[in-house]
């Protein structure tokens, strides 16, 4: 492989730099043998040392030796010559006499440097002479191992990878965006890395050269062209870390020397760099929104109006996916999950496409994928895809510390049939494997199979808070709802009606007197309490970090699973301190909804603003709510994932 005139000094390519600053202590040594009365040609890599055992190559009867070389060659002998004595004059040859040869800079012409070793007998008579013609080359494979966005020269840690602020090791992004919106493909599928500005680091290209390495060709020869210059390589990740791929990628560079005869070349130098492919990272509700995504359908005008008003007044962008694209599939939360990938030199959002594949399935690839917007998906294998594969069942907590262990990027939360996996529905294995393999947001499995739809966002969410851990966990709570309703009854509002104008009105008294309904909600409360205890333990939460929201559920007779009885207020959209909450249509008391009043009293003290959005007909009746029907692209964490202590 070889050096060329440097052209575009991209921040994270793989150029090799000159002037390698190695100390004697860490110099690589190469065994070299002299053959007396032969003239040998030799390539010496700058920054390495040749080790010649003089005794082994001396003619029989040798007692002394001397060394002569041109000024471009550095020689030292061990055991050291007598101080002040020149290697020009005969030195005593011992069993352990070793000559070390190195060169400080690349040669301008082949064989331009010379070295000779003379051997002498006991009377200092000449016995033989070994002559070397030396060519120095500078070669090193370099990366941004110190993670400052700039490729540095021969970092001594470049061949290993260590997590943490005191760690080291270069980062590679999966080139999962598409360089154009027109006739697009994910860039990793392409045969070329044409967009140099992306400069992603395992397809390996040499600048202005065709593909050097890829999946099929794991090694390639590149001719050595000589000269005092650099050659820039571009590398891109092709796969995210997964069950069978830890994420570490090694690239080696070997210098081969042709043999005198027709024998194969022999290796004389090798250099190695290690990259870690950046993980896909999710963004919790506490991060700043960038854009809000919802679907427009023939029947969701009221909902859209409410969302638009709230998003605009919050100062964020609203992106509407129209019906020609969504084909009536309104569950924007369920088809995709937004995240991002990050490296010292670049970062961009990446959408994870669910194997759910509803009518919205074209949206992430056709609309979202583009320049600096990546796309990744996982296809379910033999297994059936269930409702638990929708990404309303995939959330992430804000940063937490649990028994002294930091999760500065939070923890992923999924819902499964746990702990009764024997019979229940589950999130498909390939997606679970993918999530666990990203490592930096260690997942927590909750029990969500007790719900008809089976999504964790039906009973929990996180909102920002100015105090404590910077957030609150909100949990749906039938018990909290019964407390509200009992208070209403005791205060003389038992006849207040829910669902007013929705054609199915029912009074507080009627709800409280229904023993079967009460039993269903005690059961639901026990399911949520299981998850409450798991979340407290796995996120290190106290009771005061949790707020119980008054929400009732109904257990559907057919499958013995639960759905929200009135709009499920925990299924909200969180935009900074503005909450878009499903309008509950609760009991009207003194001209206002008692459930909305309760929500405000729970959340406004935290500086949160509650906007109640009518999703009754177009979402709630279809077993989803505001959160299910929306999605939020958020800014990435300021915290860099490679600074995690693992």
């Amino acid at each position: 492989m070889e050096q060329q005139q440097k052209q575009r000094p991209g921040p994270a390519g793989l150029p090799r730099r000159n002037k390698v600053p190695r100390t004697e202590a860490n110099m690589d040594q190469r065994t070299y043998r002299l053959y007396v009365n032969k003239t040998q040609s030799l390539v010496c890599v700058v920054g390495t040392e040749l080790r010649v055992s003089l005794n082994k190559c001396s003619p029989i009867g040798s007692k002394f030796f001397s060394v002569k070389c041109t000024p471009t060659v550095q020689c030292r002998v061990v055991p050291a010559a007598v101080a002040g004595d020149s290697l020009f004059s005969p030195q005593t040859l011992t069993r352990n006499s070793v000559l070390f040869i190195s060169m400080g800079a690349a040669s301008k012409l082949p064989n331009e440097s010379k070295l000779s070793v003379k051997f002498y007998g006991s009377k200092k008579e000449a016995l033989g002479n070994a002559v070397l013609h030396l060519t120095a080359v500078e070669i090193s494979l370099d990366v941004d191992a110190d993670r400052d966005g700039i490729v540095e020269k021969n970092n001594s840690n470049k061949a290993s990878w260590k997590w943490g602020p005191n760690g080291h090791g270069a980062v590679l992004l999966v080139n999962c965006d598409s360089e154009s919106y027109y006739k697009k493909r994910v860039d990793t599928e392409k045969e070329e890395i044409s967009k140099v500005s992306e400069n992603m680091l395992l397809k390996l290209f040499m600048q202005d050269y065709p593909l050097v390495l890829n999946k099929e060709q794991l090694a390639a020869e590149v001719p050595y062209l000589g000269g005092n210059s650099e050659l820039e390589f571009f590398v891109e990740g092709l796969r995210f870390p997964d069950k069978d791929f830890e994420g570490l990628v090694t690239i080696s560079l070997s210098l081969l020397e042709p043999s005198a005869q027709d024998f194969p070349e022999t290796p004389i130098f090798t250099d190695k760099v290690v990259f870690r492919v950046a993980p896909w990272i999710m963004t919790p509700n506490t991060l700043k929104p960038v854009e809000v995504f919802v679907c427009s359908t023939s029947d969701n005008y009221e909902f859209l109006k409410g969302i638009r008003k709230m998003v605009q007044s919050s100062g964020y962008k609203l992106k509407i996916c129209h019906e020609y694209m969504n084909r009536g599939d309104r569950w924007m939360q369920d088809e995709i999950e937004f995240g991002y990938i990050d490296s010292p030199h670049q970062r961009f959002p990446v959408v994870l496409d669910s194997p759910r594949d509803g009518d919205l399935q074209e949206f992430p690839y056709e609309v979202l994928l583009g320049p600096d917007f990546g796309y990744v998906t996982r296809y379910a294998q033999a297994e059936e895809v269930s409702s638990l594969d929708s990404f309303g069942n995939l959330e992430v907590s804000p940063p937490v510390t649990v028994n002294g262990k930091n999760y500065p990027l939070g923890r992923i939360i999924i819902g499964v049939a746990f702990p009764t996996t024997a019979h229940g529905r589950n999130m498909t294995k390939v997606v679970q494997d993918f999530l666990w393999a990203q490592k930096v947001q260690e997942p927590i499995a909750l029990y969500s199979d007790w719900l008809v739809v089976g999504h964790v966002d039906e009973f929990m969410t996180f909102v920002p808070a100015p105090d404590r851990k910077g957030f609150r966990l909100l949990l749906a709570s039938p018990d909290a709802a019964y407390t509200v309703f009992t208070n209403l009854q005791n205060n003389g509002h038992g006849k207040a009606k829910l669902f007013q104008g929705k054609g199915e009105e029912i009074s507080v008294n009627e709800i409280l007197s229904n023993e079967e309904f009460r039993a269903e909600n005690i059961y639901v409360q026990s399911c949520i309490d299981w998850n409450r205890d798991v979340l407290k333990k796995e996120l290190g939460l106290d009771e005061d970090d949790i707020i119980d929201l008054p929400i009732l559920f109904k257990v559907m007779a057919e499958e013995n699973r639960a759905v929200a009885y009135y709009p499920d207020m925990v299924n909200m959209i969180v935009l900074g301190t503005n909450l878009g909450i499903p309008k509950p249509f609760g009991p009207q008391v003194n001209g206002s909804c008692a459930l909305e009043t309760e929500m405000r009293s729970l959340l406004e003290p935290l500086g949160l603003n509650c906007t109640f959005i009518d999703d009754f007909a177009s979402y709630h009746k279809l077993l989803g709510e505001v959160h299910c029907g929306s999605n939020v692209l958020r800014e990435p964490f300021a915290f860099k994932w490679w600074n995690l202590e693992m």
Copy 2:
């Protein structure tokens, strides 16, 4: 899952023990809710605490509460009651009043314990009463997490795995032996774990019960039978660690409580244990031999005689694989590699069967596999199997320390086409993946593709030594051979002949005057020197840890690859301090072979005894030698792999 009369207390099963000694600090808490004016039945797991928020379940207007319970129930209230004040008398109810309930021992009968909470208004008038009927159960999933061979009670570290002498975590063996020699199968393929004494830990059996869990059934329900007893489970590993399996196995136990109505059971307690599947470990030449294996063929009588004599005089057992089994395939080294698996409760040898699959292929399965003798293999996938897949190309170093990093089990050494993988032959990927995944003997890749046969044992071996690092690395060295021959010539023995009586005699003078042959050997020396430098670096060796053996090679014109010119003395069998070395048939000087003399002078000072074994016709001419034609089962390391610092 449930408790049963304990029957056979195997050392590493999965019984659950009673009398769980948990402190309040590490007690798992479970959220529990009281419903006033209802009687609730409740299962309380000994060692856990129920957390009841009194305020949340109190009737409206409650200002005080009192608690009454049977003596089997422990109650505490936070904020604590006034000192000396009994919970029997009304306490002030605050927003944060929490009642913690626990029970110290399993109940004898269901619902035998009682607890009631009374709520009072501002004038201490009774407002309501919540009554609990409690059943305490003792349940815990236990393993040998402290690695002493005995399952201990509820080790607080049982749910995680940590390397090192201060680490923890249970160990699981792959049940890869066969319980019988007759109609044998590897035990992991069987539907049952019938041999309880093996007691291996992921097929999960309950004692005297059929299979509970396996690959198809990852979760199962077991009825709760009650009682104050233990239930023993047996678990076995089914797979060795590999590219897609890190080796960690988690087993969870969950206690489900039936709901009052027909709703699904809800989880109320879960316990978790983690095992690591023991890696396959190779044994270096420095470990004590147990048995020596060779083949008997129609033409290897001389060789067998030499081997038998040496093995017997060394005091080890010789096992001969006869021709009906080997079908003329004499390369005992190449078809198999001996190793072992180890756990705190058991260990046994395991043979790794090469994908080479020569005529010896039935031998490891048919002969070696048996009770307490395991078997594992890997099948090459689409790729072609090459000569580099023979296990003469798979060796292991003695323990070393490299730049402060300890390898107390040594490092595996394989030969590959590195660094020219673009064109060369390689060891097949599945075997390489397997070796790397074992983790505890981190492999080193050498360059062996320059040889016709391509095995690392053609140019290197290790012998024990009383000094320095406890061993020497022996390397084949054409240069060392030329030094011997030049000395012979200079001492007037130039006419001494090699290969005497072998029909192809050649004199020292003839060898030294052949310039082409000299060039071939300079090339070979450069290939070996590359490996010398890699071994020095990766094993932390100094020059004085290496001995160069005088061996010449010939580069075969057809494929430009090398073979040993005379019997390759480095390809030896090492039995303690006794070395069985291919008889070189070198130049006869004063009635003895000059090469044998040189070998003795190099090795005898280390206390090693050289026996030269004639393998000329039956091995050397077929491109193999003593090592290729033999194999040694050795004792395991005293060092325990789980004590490695990783």
